[in-house]
Amino acid sequence: MRFGVIRFPGSCDDVDAQLAASRVGEAVLLWHADRGLQDVDAVIVPGGFSYGDYLRVGAIARFAPVMEDVIAFAREGGPVLGICNGFQVLCEAGLLPGALLPNDHLRFRCRQVEVEVLNADTVFTRACEEGERLSIPCKHTTGRYWAPDHQLDALESGGQLVLRYAPGENPNGSARDIAGVCNEAGNVMGLMPHPEHAVDELCGASADGLKLFASAAVAHA
């Protein structure tokens, strides 16, 4: 299993994502201005502030040269995981529904959150149980998931709501406590919390985040 982690100018969680993915496979960094995905089996779009978050979060990164390949890869069914800023980029790219808006309280929020797995049948949640709770840190200012109500209804009935903040845990005012969504096919997923920061109990509150990376490896095997 070979993961490719995109590195944009302004990415800051690319190395942690690479280290996390290295726990379950091989992981290489893919530079934003290069073309081609170096034969990776899955792509991770990491957290950070790609292109300085100029204009609108994810808006400019979405047009980076490498994103053309990521979009084509995703459309062919390739697994793509967007974390935090990566989630914002995938929404801007039209690979995921909805958008991320400034937190309702306008503050940067950095803390451990509990999320519930609503759909354990996606490429990145296969190693989880439905209803399982994961403890993963979040750290963002622009993490309020939003989509029109009719679209939220469709996502909910279609199993595209993958992760939900546990009751009382919503850190940003996200609609319906949504923490992570996937596309219709289930191969593209985005979430605001950072699973790559929760892969070792030695330096985190849990290693629950590893399950998302392990899921991709299970799916690949």
Binding site: L55, A99, R144, A147, P148
Partner: protein, 80 residues
């Protein structure tokens, strides 16, 4: 031509920046202020104003969450 694009959060979507500003004004003694929204202004010189709408939809605004308004301005002298 000099163009201006006004971008604002779509009506009905919570606009915490607008709310924060709306709450700050009375603290300075201004009363009777409501319905405050904070958006963005993009100013640009364009040779072909017909492309502006496409620019807005593809990059300058996210039509899912934002409304945009084009304000065409004065002609700009190019290649001076």
């Amino acid at each position: 031509m000099r163009a201006r694009v006004l971008i604002r959060p779509k009506a009905g979507i919570l606009d915490p920046q607008g709310i924060a500003v709306e709450r700050a004004l009375p603290a300075l003694g201004f009363s009777g202020v409501s319905n405050v929204h904070v958006g963005r202004l993009v100013e640009l010189d364009v040779e072909d104003a017909a492309q502006l709408d496409d620019m807005c939809r593809r990059l300058l605004a996210n039509p899912l969450i934002e409304d945009y308004e084009l304000v065409a301005g004065e002609p700009v002298a190019h290649g001076a």
